[in-house]
Amino acid sequence: MDNLYQQLQLNPQYLITLHALVAAVLGVAMFYLRSPLFVALSFLGVLLTTAGIYLLLNETFIAAIQLIVYAGAIVVLFIFSIMLFNLQAKMQKQKPLMLLLSTLLGVVLFASFSLALLQLTTSQSITSNLTITATTAESIALYLFTHNYLLFEVISLVLLVATIAAVVLAKRYIALPASEEQEQAQEQKQEQEQGENQR
């Protein structure tokens, strides 16, 4: 089976580097853009470039899952909730000091991660070029249903619980008819408030 990049007659390494650079730039844009809609769109860009990297690594099934679940479902959910919450009116500018501090913290975090990774390269052969073998959905399924079948069942339970929890959480509670004590308490509260207003 020919690889995707062999059919395209392109060097996969350059393409992967290109995708990685685009993903990094879009990730930085996620942090510095103010509007939630633009943040969601750059998040979508990061997910699409990641799916492209999966394709170039010949992980076609993972790429499809990434596109369907992440780019198709989650980002659309986010954009829908941006539409529902009408956030455009309440945007605030971040303070320059906080911006500087956050950039500094990000640089420190990334430097520590990279140092750990570069130490790893001395013991493992992760800098060498690899022959990329294709991963089929069949082999993933074989592994999933022989080694990880218990986790699979647990995940199905988690999805069910999450669905029920989302419905319960997002439900609008209907006010029950208030008992007499509550009514009296409310009346007292209102009287107090009126008294304060008069003062």
Binding site: I16, A23, L87, F113, L117, I140, H147, A162, A166
Partner: protein, 99 residues
């Protein structure tokens, strides 16, 4: 090549952490969490290229994607609750436990 992908994954993970810590909008904080999960997926897939005969990473990625979807659905439900009770989803408003 795997090193490049690991660096990208670390970079995206750091950005996710920064989004969660420094942004005031809870919707964007949720996106940061999703970005971190995505970075972990990328790292798993890139490392799995060292062991072509082992598919543990790919099956783990499938499960992580399912968890991410469940988490985003729950997060948005909580967001709806916050919007009703606090009149906004900025962390400057939701300070009941703050003072």
């Amino acid at each position: 090549m795997i090193l490049q992908l690991q660096l990208l994954s670390a970079f995206l993970f750091c950005l996710g952490i920064l989004l969660v810590i420094f942004r005031k909008n809870i919707l964007i904080m949720l996106m940061g969490v999703e970005l971190m999960l995505n970075a972990a997926n990328l790292s798993l897939v890139a490392f799995s290229k060292l062991y072509p005969e082992n598919f543990a990473a790919q099956s783990a990625v499938l499960l992580i994607v399912a968890i991410a979807a469940a988490e985003s659905a729950l997060g948005l439900a909580i967001l709806i609750h916050l919007y009703r009770n606090f009149g906004g989803i900025l962390t400057t408003k939701t300070t009941t436990l703050h003072d």
